[in-house]
Symmetry: C2
DNA sequence: AATTAGCACTCAACGTTATCGAGTGCTAAT
DNA sequence: ATTAGCACTCGATAACGTTGAGTGCTAATT
């Protein structure tokens, strides 16, 4: 792969990303100054096609990049664009300073990411079962109705109103809460199982006037937090993706929108990214789900205390403005990490 | 309006709802047995067009109903279809028996309504400020961090982690909670303002060892529940609406999808329905928002203790299967009411 | 050996034109 | 009041020609 071939490939990808039209040798020679004639470029393009970096939609058209072409572009050719400091400042202020819950922040972040990139944003909220037990409280709200509130380190708060078989005194509820906190604080929720709580319950009955059988709701409830619950997926700017000219075909629109409604599938796709730090990119058919063979994903992980807890990304056509998107996704991931890290 | 005209209008609307094609006199005569010739039907159709119940997309096409035509159909001609008992049973069981929060139920209901009707479902969750204060609890979860949990009669539960200026003892928090419950239980949240809480706070300081200035967060927080917060709108089955042949035009798809992303606008539209009991129908231009001149809404209210608290409905093309949809929407509204009424 | 000019060829996109047929309104007969 | 008959309308579809951006190949040039 000569230097000139790289230059030409880069120019073609850039051009195609801009215009969504197949790129011909003539246009290329006119707009970029390679110092060679279209004929030469044609030869190089033929080589690049041979090597599977480019393809022709039909015989008498220009070339467009293949997935392999995009991959090479993304890995070796592309120049990343930086986000303006001004924008960084204003967004940070906007998001991080707010006194609202994690859910709201995620929602806003996804909307913002979508508006910044003009593609559809996806955010995976932190997963409950991978969060860490911070605080639990049982509150009597009516005869035989107990409200259980669980606070986790990721900011997720879980409420549940539970019907208990027999009324439990406020004092006892207080005692149970305190005891559970003592024992469970700091543990990851997926490390807490029925057995562990069973042991705690048996210790508890010595200190309170509630029979063991009436404590069973605690097992039931807390251990349900231990099951992977397919953390919620938030979408932002679904309509944005329609602005892309590749979705000028009604059937494509329908298939993409159907896809975006299948939260479970999206969740699985996002799961394919290895929670490494940094930004991961999945281009077209690199992905195993054929529903999205002509979409790309750009995904980053956000963290809490060095531990990856969720993902944020963008879905768009393979002809995506990677150079912009990558920086923006990374930035939004950092915003979320920063929000979570707030004291 | 003769009886025969009504019959013909009804047949035309039915036919158009089925096929989405303009209805001609010949087809009509063939498929329905009016005992008259196409020519007669033509004359009747001309009269109906004159009276603005029908229109012609172009000179040499059949007729389609106008909004006025649909309105007449809905009010006077249509025969409502009933939902099968079997379906009623299975859905009720599915929804009402579940031990989950109102949010989840609403989400599921909207998905279900959409699947049953093949249009897009809209659900307005109960509004916090119109809910009734049931129980409040302040919980210390860390030095100078207090978790406030508010439970309302509509099943909405509000959590907020608050940074307090100085640490407050568990006992004092308990006392504050108890006192607030005593005073506020049973009140509608929009009846509770800063002033009221100010009075309570001043009484409180006599019983606890916290200075008044450190109780200000209570005012701040609780009175924020009193502002109309544009209760959340849940959408179900956005992609369903695209199956309608009227959305075979890309621009229409885009405009509808943009509309569905504007939660605020949807909220306003839903607000135009007068929370009466029963099902309300808004056909095309009857609605003042011109973005949706060719959509219809079918909306019903769900209740808690006789008080309307939220709305559920469907958005689809004016050519909607009203006879099915109306029953289904009503049914789903009843399901929600029933869920809320659970002891 | 690499580059380039020249040229014949390809093919989607677009515009023009013709045809078809479902549907209409009108008139005159029933 | 109803209907048969008929000329007319007009969107949809198909057939056809033209255009132009683009290609690959060959032969000349550097």
């Amino acid at each position: 792969m000569t230097e000139r071939k790289k230059e030409i490939l880069k120019a073609i990808v850039n051009e195609y990303i801009m215009t969504a039209e197949p790129v011909g040798s003539r246009t290329l020679a006119r707009r970029y100054d390679f110092g060679v004639s279209p004929a030469t470029i044609r030869n190089e393009m033929a080589d690049l096609e041979e090597a599977n970096y480019l393809e022709q939609p039909h015989r008498s058209a220009g070339r467009i990049p293949t997935d392999k072409g995009y991959r090479f572009y993304v890995d070796d050719l592309m120049e990343l664009k930086k986000i303006s400091q001004k924008m960084i400042g204003s967004i940070k202020e906007n998001i991080i300073s707010k006194q609202v819950g994690i859910q709201e922040i995620i929602q806003q972040t996804s909307q913002m990411l979508s508006d910044l990139t003009n593609y559809t944003a996806l955010v995976l909220s932190p997963q409950l079962e991978e969060s860490i037990f911070r605080h639990l409280q049982l509150i009597s709200i009516a005869e035989r109705k107990v409200l259980m509130v669980l606070v986790t380190d990721t900011g997720l708060i879980k409420n549940k109103i539970i019907d208990v078989p027999e009324s439990i005194s406020t004092g006892d509820l207080e005692m149970i809460s305190r005891f559970l906190n003592e024992r469970l604080s700091g543990l990851a929720l997926n490390k807490i199982d029925k057995e562990a709580i069973g042991i705690i319950n048996r210790e508890l009955v010595n200190r309170i006037s509630v029979p063991l059988r009436n404590l069973y709701f605690i097992n039931e409830e807390i251990s349900s937090y231990n099951i992977p619950e397919n953390g919620k997926i938030y979408l932002g700017g679904t309509a944005h993706i329609l602005e892309q000219p590749e979705f000028n075909d009604i059937n494509k629109i329908k298939s993409v929108l159907k896809l975006l409604e299948q939260k479970q599938l999206l969740y699985n796709i996002m799961g394919d990214f290895n929670k490494k730090t940094g930004v991961e990119i999945m281009i077209g058919s690199e992905n195993s789900f054929q529903e999205i063979r002509d979409c790309s994903f750009v995904v980053a992980t956000y963290n809490l205390g060095g531990r990856p807890v969720g993902k944020i990304g963008v879905i768009g056509p393979t002809r995506m403005e990677y150079s912009n998107v990558i920086g923006t996704v990374k930035f939004m991931a950092d915003i979320l990490s920063e929000f979570l890290a707030k004291p």
